[in-house]
């Protein structure tokens, strides 16, 4: 059956995969970041197809927005004109490719004629509110734990990325 939903899914999935492949094969780091943005945006589109509207917005906000910015900053901090050297095809690459292929085949065998009894869902009705209700009434403990994770991440980011004053002696030279 060729429905609009199906076409949209194929297009988005292809864009996502293409972004991933380009990310691996491009040689300039900035181009790689652009490629991964394609993947992020397509995944947001797939979320919309799955009626996960809020998640799609979050995907755009955090991944295509913040994470991409952070990667660009990372590039600007380092040698941004660097190009990855194109290495020849070694045995290692062949084995890796075969491994990926085998895994892909294994998953494909699993899902290609998988049939679930589909139940009508109302996920798209007030999606954000549903998430809010579940998160702030049933999943309080993981939610509060997330704040600790974020705190640790913030402290860790500062510890590792901060330029120390050098402490004793070093900057007095």
């Amino acid at each position: 059956m060729l429905s609009g939903e199906f076409i949209a899914f194929i297009a988005l999935a292809l864009a996502a995969i293409m972004g991933g492949v380009l990310l691996l094969n491009l040689t300039k780091v900035v181009h790689m970041v652009v490629a991964i943005v394609f993947t992020f945006v397509s995944i947001a589109g797939i979320y919309v197809l799955l009626s996960a509207e809020f998640l799609a917005a979050v995907q755009i906000l955090i991944y295509s927005g913040a994470i991409t910015i952070i990667m660009l900053f990372g590039i600007m901090l380092t040698k941004h004109n660097d190009e990855s050297e194109a290495k020849g095809i070694g045995w290692r690459k062949v084995f890796m490719f075969l491994g990926v292929l085998a895994f892909g085949a294994a998953v494909y065998i699993g899902i290609y004629d998988l049939d679930f009894a589909s139940e009508p869902s109302e996920l798209h009705v007030k999606n954000t509110e549903q998430i809010g209700l579940a998160l702030y009434s049933d999943y309080i403990i993981p939610f509060e734990l997330t704040s600790v994770v974020l705190l640790v991440a913030l402290v860790g980011a500062i510890i590792l990325a901060r330029k120390d004053d050098g402490g004793k002696g070093e900057d007095k030279k």
Partner: protein, 124 residues
């Protein structure tokens, strides 16, 4: 309830805008290429430095200070994401949701104070 396909069709407008957004720069650049004269010169490719002879690459390495700002931006961005469904569902949740969010925000406030005390918020 709204019908599912009706809901999805609403996204067609988003799709149209997405296409327009992609097309606009592509078309503009393409026509620009068509219309502009093409006369390459060696000196055109050099970096403009107010008349002074350029001596190295125009792009320089950023200060690591910027990176901490980017990292903190991501973390507070994630926090905002948590605030959003909270605000939407707040009416139905009751007073305990306020307490929860207060704890959450206080934890991140400690992080902010940490950044402040460690002087990473200072702009040189």
């Amino acid at each position: 309830m709204e019908l599912l396909n009706l809901y999805q069709n609403n996204y067609l407008i988003v799709f149209v805008f997405l296409c327009l957004g992609v097309l606009l720069p592509v078309v503009a650049l393409f026509f620009g290429k068509l219309l502009r004269p093409y006369k390459p010169l060696e000196s055109k490719y050099t970096t403009y430095e107010s008349g002074i002879e350029p001596f190295h690459d125009s792009r320089v390495q950023f200060n690591v200070r910027y990176y901490i700002f980017a990292l903190m931006f991501v973390i507070f961005d994630v926090e905002t994401v948590f605030l959003y469904p909270w605000a939407v569902a707040y009416e139905k949740l009751g007073i305990f949701a306020l307490v929860e969010m207060l704890i959450f925000v206080v934890m991140l406030l400690i992080g902010l104070i940490y950044a402040w005390k460690k002087k990473v918020l200072k702009w040189i």
